[in-house]
């Protein structure tokens, strides 16, 4: 039975929607339905996007690209977007966000770079093979090509930050009548560790309006390559008209910060579009903190917390085990109903005092006494 065929997929999607009908909902438990559905086909599910790994391909000496075929609940994606991947290791589920590294909607792929000591990256590189199934979220994120398509696009990436940039470069260059310029700056420690050599080479052969320059931070460079991390000198060596280029940067926080700072310093008109995968620096409790009363309603616990750390951290410190995922405000695993109190969103800096609103515990800091459904 090919559950991925358009007809059966459509049927399964409709069945799932029917089971979620308000009349049936009180009688239907999603986990029970999924339990029986899995027996019919591993990718059959009411709500979860389950993807089959169809191929593995080296992307560099320490990175691998996994080609995925998601089930009928997959709604496609735009180049530059990412998914949250869920894997279970020693009985514990872990979530990680990975950018999709291709532009073609039929080709869902993620590229995983081995992180020293990284639990999930090492698992994906060493334990996941063709024929395995992975749970992913629908694609999300707004790190996508601006409208209209930029005629001069500069893509600056470092390490695994190259994954969405490759998709963005492919997407732009494959537009039917695109005649603009694309410049890719691909930074890494060494030749072996920079991603996508062969993919970029192939793309360059097809599209002469693409230029790729490598920047190496821990190895001697040859002609036409850049030495060290991204800096003003690199930009000036490559582009005389940098003010006219739309820059998109992805990588560690340091890279993103230096791009933003340079663009601001020079007053270039096109604001940089950036994305950083470095987890939020979680503020540690400091001397200036104030105590706040935290009421975890479902657990029936009232504890004294502080107005410095995210609620997730404080709930865990109180011995609770709330659902959590990325711990950086993107996966919504820790979403929880706040019934009263004021919280500050660490990502946006906004404060909110609405009663009965859903907040993400990992990026919400209590500013007053707070009551949450946890």
């Amino acid at each position: 039975m090919d559950i991925l065929s358009p007809v059966l997929g459509q049927l399964a999607r409709r069945a799932g929607a029917a089971l979620r009908h308000p009349l049936l909902a009180p009688l239907v438990n999603e986990h029970v339905v999924d339990f029986y559905a899995r027996h019919l086909h591993p990718q059959l599910s009411m709500r979860q996007v389950i993807a089959r790994v169809t191929a593995r391909q080296a992307a560099s000496a320490d990175a691998v690209t996994l080609h995925l075929v998601p089930n009928y609940l997959w709604r496609g994606f735009r180049a530059g977007q990412h998914v949250t991947l869920t894997v279970e290791i020693d009985g514990v589920r872990h979530h990680r966000v990975y950018s999709l590294s291709a532009a073609n909607a039929d080709d869902v792929q993620i590229t995983v770079k081995r992180q020293p000591g990284g639990l999930v990256s090492n698992y994906l590189l060493d334990q996941v093979y063709d024929g395995d199934y992975l749970q992913i979220s629908p694609a999300f994120g707004d790190f996508v090509l601006p409208e209209p398509a930029p005629q001069k696009l500069l893509l600056i990436g470092a390490g695994s930050g190259m994954t969405p940039l490759l998709a963005l470069a492919e997407a732009l260059l494959q537009m039917p009548d695109y005649t603009g310029q694309v410049l890719v700056l691909n930074y890494g420690r060494s030749h072996e560790e920079t991603l996508f050599h062969s993919r970029l080479l192939r793309l360059k052969t097809l599209h002469p309006n693409l230029r790729v320059v490598y920047g190496l931070t821990a190895e001697g460079v040859s002609e036409g390559e850049l030495s060290g991390r991204f800096c003003a000198r690199h930009l000036d060596e490559l582009l005389a008209d940098a003010a006219e280029w739309q820059v998109m940067a992805c990588g560690p926080q340091g890279l993103v910060d230096s791009v933003k700072a340079l663009w601001a310093e020079r007053g270039y008109p096109l604001a940089p579009l950036t994305e950083s995968f470095t987890p939020l620096a979680v503020p540690q409790a400091t001397a200036g903190q104030q105590p706040v009363a935290l009421h975890f309603r479902l657990a029936g616990r009232a504890v004294t917390g502080n107005n410095q750390q995210p609620l997730l951290q404080q709930a865990e410190a109180a011995g609770l085990l709330p659902a959590s995922g990325c711990r950086m405000g993107i996966c919504f695993s820790c979403t929880c109903r706040k019934t009263s109190g004021t919280v500050k969103n660490l990502l946006t800096g906004q404060t909110s005092s609405e009663p009965d609103e859903d907040i993400r515990l990992c990026v919400s800091v209590p500013l007053s006494d707070v009551s949450i459904s946890l």
Partner: protein, 417 residues
């Protein structure tokens, strides 16, 4: 009635006793992993398959043997779902897996009691204030007089009848507990104060009734009636069993109750001791453990309500040895013995007696000369016990050393001497 025989511990001993339990807990937490996840999924699968089989057989219920087998299978399925899966998952025993299917905050069990109400009356009130008169509603569920320390009321004369009713309608009684309807009947609360809780209860109950008594009978077509009666029988089987297991948890002959004053400045170690004195185990094999949701290890469950139930058997070996070393009574016995003790209490306490003041554990007088024999019986075997314990600790240390885990603090031996 014989009274539990526990030696009075010094504050330093109580603290050391608690520290050993903390260390035991830390060792188990560090060891949680794939086998525990695999176990609870196996239990989940057993529940699903047995429910499917039970409901399937009931569809053929016009044929009496199929009805009998169906009702029994569905009854056992509901028992495992409520006890080993639901009760334990709602306690947060598997929250560390981060799997939405086994998440305490969202798990909804196959029972008319809403999980949210259960989290309040059971996880919070009962597990925090275990056997404290006036605080723990589970002492007789606001209806029964179980201990002489409770005040007698003429209505208690009929409590054997209430007990029978509560057994038959167990899930309904547990469900309404959170809305404190008993206090409304006694005039302590206004009905309107309980309406929000009653609404939550009604919503959950409606779903359950719709499922077992409307939807599945309708699906069965001509076999609607056998399915309806079969579902009733299954719910009854589950009710009676859950009632029996749960009443054995804290109402047995040797179970102790406490006055509210014990809660003042109670340390974690003292809380541990209260859990041990207020709870009672039922001895049995692995199958009995599963069917009782591991409440056969009620003492261990009360010490560590958020550790996976499958771990209680191994924890019990250590807790029992610990209790013996510290001269603390470890209340365990066969099901028949424990349940008989509960029935005796229910009948005996239905008759008027002066309410005995619950004695604070801390001020308990030392046993009189004539009573010391049972209290210190454990100490007679001390040498042998110490040797056994030493051998086990040695084995444990080897296991931990092999696994590269830091060794547990060997503070146990010093105290016994």
């Amino acid at each position: 009635m014989s009274k539990p025989q526990s030696r009075q511990l010094t504050p330093a001993e109580i603290q050391a006793f608690g520290a050993e339990l903390d260390a035991l807990r830390a060792r188990i937490v560090a060891d949680l992993g794939e086998p525990d996840a695999r176990y609870i999924r196996k239990i989940r699968s057993t529940v699903r398959y047995s429910e499917l089989a039970g409901r399937g057989l009931l569809m053929l219920g016009l044929f009496p043997p199929a009805w009998l087998a169906g009702a029994a299978t569905l009854g056992v399925s509901k028992i495992i779902e409520n006890m080993e899966l639901g009760h334990n998952v709602i306690h947060g025993q598997y929250d560390w897996m981060n799997d939405p299917e086994f998440r305490s905050a969202t798990y909804e069990w196959d029972n008319v009691c809403p999980s949210s109400a259960w989290r309040n009356t059971h996880n919070y009130v009962h597990h925090t204030f275990t056997n404290v008169i006036g605080k723990d509603d589970d002492i007789g569920y606001g209806v029964l007089r179980i201990f002489p320390e409770q005040k007698w009321h003429p209505a208690n004369l009929l409590q054997p009848v209430y007990t029978l009713l509560m057994a038959v309608l167990f899930q309904w009684g547990v469900g309404i507990q959170d809305s404190k309807i008993d206090r409304v009947l006694r005039g302590e609360l206004k009905l309107r104060d309980t309406i929000p809780d009653l609404k939550i209860y009604a919503k959950k109950a409606r779903g359950q009734v719709l499922k077992d008594y409307v939807a599945f009978p309708l699906l069965a077509g001509p076999a609607a009636l056998p399915v309806l009666t079969g579902n009733m029988a299954a719910n009854l089987i589950r009710n009676l069993w859950a009632f029996a297991i749960i009443y054995c948890g804290h109402f047995t002959e040797d179970a102790e109750v406490f006055p509210e004053s014990v809660l003042e400045n109670e340390t974690r170690a003292e809380w541990y001791l209260r859990q041990i004195k207020g709870s009672s185990n039922i001895s049995g094999g692995p199958l009995f453990d599963i069917l009782s949701g591991n409440l056969s290890h009620q003492i261990e469950h009360h010490l560590f309500p958020d550790l996976p139930g499958r771990r209680y058997a191994e924890i019990a070996v250590e807790v029992q040895a610990l209790c013996a070393r510290y001269g603390q009574h470890y209340n365990t016995g066969r099901f028949s013995k424990q349940f008989f003790g509960v029935l005796v209490r229910i009948f005996a306490q239905s008759l008027p007696t002066q309410a005995a003041a619950a004695k604070p554990a801390k001020q308990k007088p030392l046993p009189k000369a004539g009573q010391t024999k049972p209290a210190f019986a454990a100490l007679d075997d001390l040498a042998e016990l110490q040797a056994r314990l030493e051998a086990r600790l040695q084995r444990k240390r080897q296991t931990y050393a092999d696994a590269g885990v830091r060794q547990p603090a060997p503070q146990a031996e010093a105290l016994v001497a």
